[in-house]
Symmetry: C2
Subunit: 321 residues, 2 copies
């Protein structure tokens, strides 16, 4: 079992750098340079074993996901990712070195894809948990926030939603499972390019980590508006439709999290610009409803009936043991 | 038991802000502005219950310490603290709200003292653990690093060392204990003012979290020098001397951590400037030895004999259960 310093050396040897990293891993702190005319965007997210991922999840997937959920937050702010720190708490185990190598395989594969430098962090002994703090830039004043939405704006969702929750439901049921759905749960794709393309177009945005109902609810609260969502328009993957009937899918799509798609709002006049922007990113986008002045979030079935989703947004605390 | 969002609201309601926080807690990420002409300094440290503090430690002290260990890293870089994020993993317990309030009492008391804004983070369910990421500034190029020390420089230590390790030794022995020593363990003082005062004077610096032997060892490795330390000059509090004989104290001072004093190096010609700078901060400083060209860290007793400390720097992994 390597000690703390050996573990840090192991991580340091594989960490990539960037020209704006004046000093990376190996001192009391990192020294970084934010480009002139840009604001710094910072987010921290923790993954706990058995809560945010099944304990049996492959370490490579855990590494990927630990960074992905943070990059997804940067995407939702329309920020360009730059740096991250990694606080890794590992149980006392003989397999540390192998585990860390596999973890870094996934973590650094995603970091490489988005030119993110790992600049510091901490390694400690304890129950498995990972906290990543990710840093990005936006040109001053151009961040995409939750509080800029207006009544009349359309509500967009990228990609398809419900797949990750579907995988979790299959895993919990211990019955047949779909590798495609499980891939969505284990290897979420942060929508970085979409976030950047939405600068100056979208009025508000958020990433879908807790499910559409809870996450869109945050945008509505921050922007003091309401919304009506048409369940018939929820973007649904063929795989999800193959494995779950419509009535089973809605709870997954509204109250299940972990898809890490973006939900954003924009006036109808921006629809063409958005379609072009999304096409350039090779990502689909769907208008699922509209913002209204009256507070509250209402869902309507294709038959025109109201639909009330199960309590949303607390699934992390229910655990995935 | 409040849910995750209620917990975040609880924290958000008490978090202070600053003018350079354009957007704090409550969006996907914080938006921050680094002042022109300054570099950003970033550090992350995790505290795990039963590893970094006894499980019975008061939540107020845990809150203080979780921020203090991070601010200490900024001090060691000569950075001015500005912002932090807090990733709080709490066990499933009915007392969450009270615990979090007490935790925030300590955390925010220290944050207030150093004008640090809590700008974001995460709350999750799991075994008690806290990761703080702290951000500060230095004028471009003026950070205090580990790699600037030269042979001939004097080695300085602020305040006194060994007190926190003494408290831990007493706690482990379950015998008589000193409240003063325990206070040093539970409420470390990050040497922020000292770090700032050393800009342009000290050649290298580090904070003493793992003990003088391990931490000074990092400076020596980074700067490719060696050192000879005179054990008779180690700054020792009257309380530590009252509770531990000299031969017991050295292991505490060399291999015990958690004092969070600064260790720094400077040419002898800077001694007067350093004494003035420290006096202005109302902190004592002691020259404990000198850097030499030959690699290696040697300790000498007052009788002129070599002294070999126990293996240092891995005490976090031994745990304080």
């Amino acid at each position: 079992m390597p000690g703390e310093f050996a573990l840090i050396d192991r991580i340091r040897a594989r960490a990539r750098s960037r020209v704006d990293v004046l000093l990376g891993i190996g001192d009391d702190a990192a020294i970084l340079r934010v480009p002139a005319g840009h604001d710094l965007v910072v987010t921290s997210d923790t993954l706990v074993s058995g809560v945010h991922f099944p304990a049996q999840t492959a370490p490579t997937d855990i590494g990927w996901k630990a960074l992905a959920v943070n990059l997804s937050d940067l995407a939702a702010m329309a920020a360009t990712p730059a740096w991250c720190t990694l606080a890794l708490t590992l149980p006392d185990a003989d397999a540390d070195a192998d585990w860390v190598d596999a973890f870094l395989d996934g973590f650094l594969e995603l970091a490489e894809r988005h030119d993110v430098a790992l600049v510091g962090g901490d390694t400690t002994r304890g129950p498995l948990s990972i906290t990543v703090t990710a840093h990005g830039f936006v040109p001053e004043g151009q961040a995409l926030r939750r509080d800029g939405a207006h009544a009349g704006d359309e509500v967009w969702v990228t990609g398809s939603i419900g797949d990750a929750a579907g995988a979790l439901a299959q895993w919990r049921a211990r019955g047949p499972s779909s590798a495609k759905l499980r891939h969505r749960l284990d290897r979420p794709t942060p929508r970085i390019a979409v976030g950047l393309a939405l600068r100056g177009i979208a009025t508000a945005g958020i990433d879908l980590s807790d499910g559409l109902a809870a996450d869109l609810g945050h945008v509505l609260a921050a922007s003091s508006v309401g919304a009506r969502i048409d369940l018939g328009r929820l973007p649904t993957s063929r795989t999800l439709a193959d494995h779950f009937e419509q009535a089973q899918r809605w709870p997954l799509q509204l109250s299940g999290g972990d898809d890490y798609e973006l939900c954003f709002t924009a006036p109808a006049s921006a629809a063409f610009a958005i379609e072009q922007a999304l096409a350039a990113c090779d990502v689909t986008g769907t208008v699922v409803g509209q913002l209204v002045a009256e507070p509250g979030l209402r869902f309507t079935t294709p038959e025109g009936e109201d639909y009330v989703p199960a309590a949303a947004g607390f699934q992390h605390f229910q655990g995935v043991h």
